[in-house]
């Protein structure tokens, strides 16, 4: 059974239709990656799951319970099980609190008065490989990589079942990025965490995600196991995205497939396939609206898929 099930999730800000029906499932212990251009709605999806962004329609079930649109008071106890890692590592830490109080704040919010907060702080810092005396430091005294780890520690404080991670490695050095991904992999195995991860670094996706979904203009256009998507992308947008990944080799022969034009405005969505104006492989049939079709666990929204 799925731990998280998102079905036809829709979010609009006024006339701007940011999410136009997003559906995916995450099994316990599974890592699911959401990729796509800036503005494709990735962050809105996870914020809506966490109850931090509005969702006017659709459904989000967690452990079988419907959680979309729950009032804050009913949502709060759920946050024990659903933790968020925010995009900006330093900006998501209050500058006035010490690292120790930041990572133990979840216990206070959840009213877990029986906990020894100092001991918990020590345990959490150890878990993310930071020295215990960091508990007395303030966020400005940390490097970006250390602030990330504090974010991980805080997200793990209540031993959640699901972590929603928004660009957890953006801005990190490659070796620190490796450390963080190894840490997440390790914790995931030990604690059986499920994770939804947003990243634009496709090399990272390949190493952490079991399955991945590709978003375009607030919809999933393709979904499958990470291996399957990397080996045989069927949606032209996925193919463009994968071909745009810079290789750390100056002699790499990149067969880059250029996207045409600009992302369309959400206020004026194209008719038919919404990608067709930019699609290098568009055909006449693409003026019709493609439906989401799934075969062998590989989901696709395209009338002229690549083979």
């Amino acid at each position: 059974m799925s731990l998280l099930s998102v079905s036809d999730l829709q979010t609009s800000y006024g006339a701007v239709n940011v999410l136009a029906g997003v559906s995916f499932d995450v099994a316990p212990g599974e890592t699911y990656a959401l990729v796509g251009e800036s503005g494709s709605g990735k962050t809105t999806v996870i914020r809506a799951i966490a109850g931090l962004a509005p969702a006017q329609a659709g459904s989000v079930t967690f452990d079988g319970q419907e959680i979309r649109g729950l009032p804050e008071r009913s949502f709060r106890p759920l946050r024990k099980n659903i933790a968020m890692m925010f995009q900006d590592p330093v900006g998501s830490l209050s500058p006035r609190l010490t690292i120790g109080s930041l990572i133990t704040e979840p216990y206070r919010i959840q009213g877990m008065k029986d906990r020894d907060l100092q001991a918990e702080a020590k345990r959490l810092l150890e878990m993310v490989n930071l020295p215990a005396h960091f508990a007395n430091r303030y966020p400005y005294q940390l490097s970006g990589g250390q602030a990330r780890r504090v974010g991980v520690a805080r997200a793990l404080a209540l031993e959640p079942k699901l972590i929603l991670a928004d660009e957890p490695t953006a801005g990190l050095d490659v070796s620190v990025q490796g450390e963080l991904l190894n840490l997440l992999n390790d914790l995931r195995e030990r604690l059986g965490l499920a994770m939804v991860i947003i990243t634009h670094n496709l090399s990272v996706v390949r190493h952490v995600a079991d399955r991945m979904g590709i978003m375009y203009l607030g919809r999933l256009v393709e979904e499958g196991t990470t291996e399957d998507i990397f080996d045989s992308p069927r949606h032209p947008y996925t193919r463009c995205l994968l071909s745009a990944n810079p290789e750390p080799d100056p002699d790499a022969r990149l067969e880059r497939i250029a996207l045409k034009g600009e992302p369309p405005s959400l206020l004026n969505r194209p008719t038919g396939c919404e990608f067709r104006e930019r699609c290098p492989f568009a055909q006449d049939v693409c003026s019709q609206t493609p439906k989401w079709e799934v075969s062998d666990g590989h989901g696709l929204r395209c009338l002229a898929p690549l083979s």
């Binding site: 953006a170 490659v174 620190v176 490796g178 450390e179 810079p246 750390p248």
Partner: protein, 326 residues
């Protein structure tokens, strides 16, 4: 041989702090020739940002230039007057800063800011606005004309980064300094920006000093690469040499750590264990030795000099010295 545009010559920069002098840059030397793209790679704290703020003389008040020169078209910028620097900045040398969320003025529309920075031009306001719209379009902002009247908070982070790039390129500078300009962008945009930078660089024949820790981008864009570690240059050379024939263990490890190299899912990704040394209290000998798996006795005693190992390829490591003298 192409003309040299920028020469960094033996530059040493300290920050005065309560704990003593923080040796942020030590004996940095490299040059950027006209129309060339030079990449600077290295992890956080290696001095990349100190280096570019030193070039532009936009340094913090506790900065002390201890030694060396920064020459731009032959002129030592460390001796230039503030007036001369103001004339250079944003005209001959322009920059795209690291953080797109903080580079724009939040209370002015994007169009206003893009018109304002053309203050040196005698064009009419309408012409300046048209040029601003053209540049916005060039960096991939849809409906550029309409969006000129919007404010920074109405753009996504990636868009704000692109606006910063558009603004830096408006003056057609001789040298563009790009400080991690693609870090916040997704892969397709990153590639678009790189391609756009390369096109513009060819069109304007401007040189680019490209700071990044994304090795894929460096490999794709740059002609030459300077690798920095803890405030020093450890290796520099042609991009192919650096990626295919790295001569410093740090460069080698850095390339190995890039997950882009590993094509199948890895359970454990390679890392470089240990921490960057404390710049206020530098250990003697080679600065990388504590994290180096090939360290020898000599590395603890003497600082390895930056030695020439081939055509334009320099590295500071005793391992190569052994090979040279053997």
């Amino acid at each position: 041989m192409t003309e040299t545009l920028l020469e960094i010559d033996g530059l040493s920069v300290d920050y005065e702090t309560e704990r003593g002098d923080l040796k942020a840059l030590r004996d940095i030397s490299f040059d950027v020739r006209k129309g060339e793209i030079v990449g600077i790679v290295g992890e956080s704290g290696c001095g990349k940002s100190t280096l570019i703020s030193s070039i532009l003389r936009l340094t913090a008040p506790n900065t002390r230039f201890r030694q060396g020169e920064v020459r731009f078209k032959g002129q030592n910028l460390l001796q230039a007057t503030e007036r001369q620097m103001r004339d250079l900045r944003g005209d001959d040398i322009s920059i795209v800063f690291q953080d797109p969320m903080q580079t724009h003025n939040p209370v002015l529309s994007v169009g206003q800011q893009m018109v304002d920075i053309q203050h040196r031009s005698s064009a009419s306001k309408a012409e300046k606005r048209a040029k601003a719209a053209k540049m916005l379009g060039a960096v991939g902002i849809p409906d550029p004309e309409a969006r000129l009247s919007q404010f920074p908070h109405e753009f996504s982070g990636g868009m704000r980064q692109r606006i910063a790039i558009a603004m830096a390129l408006m003056s057609e500078p001789d040298l563009l300094i790009a400080d991690e300009p693609t870090t916040a962008l997704d892969a397709t945009l990153e590639v678009q920006i790189i391609e756009r930078l390369r096109e513009l660089q060819r069109e304007m024949h401007c040189a680019v000093l490209f700071i990044s820790h994304h090795l894929g981008v460096i490999a794709e864009l740059c002609d030459r690469v300077v690798v920095m570690y803890a405030g020093a240059v450890v290796e520099s050379g042609d991009v192919r040499e650096i990626f295919h024939n790295p001569k410093h263990p740090y460069t080698r490890r850095l390339i190995e750590c890039d997950p882009g190299h590993i094509k199948t899912r890895a359970r454990v990704l390679p890392t470089i264990p240990g921490e960057v040394p404390d710049l206020a209290n530098l250990p003697g000998g080679c600065i990388f030795r504590d994290r180096c798996d090939q360290a020898m006795d000599r590395c603890a005693q003497e600082v390895p000099p930056l030695e020439r190992l081939g055509e334009g390829h320099l590295a500071a490591c005793w391992l190569n010295h052994e090979e040279v003298s053997a």
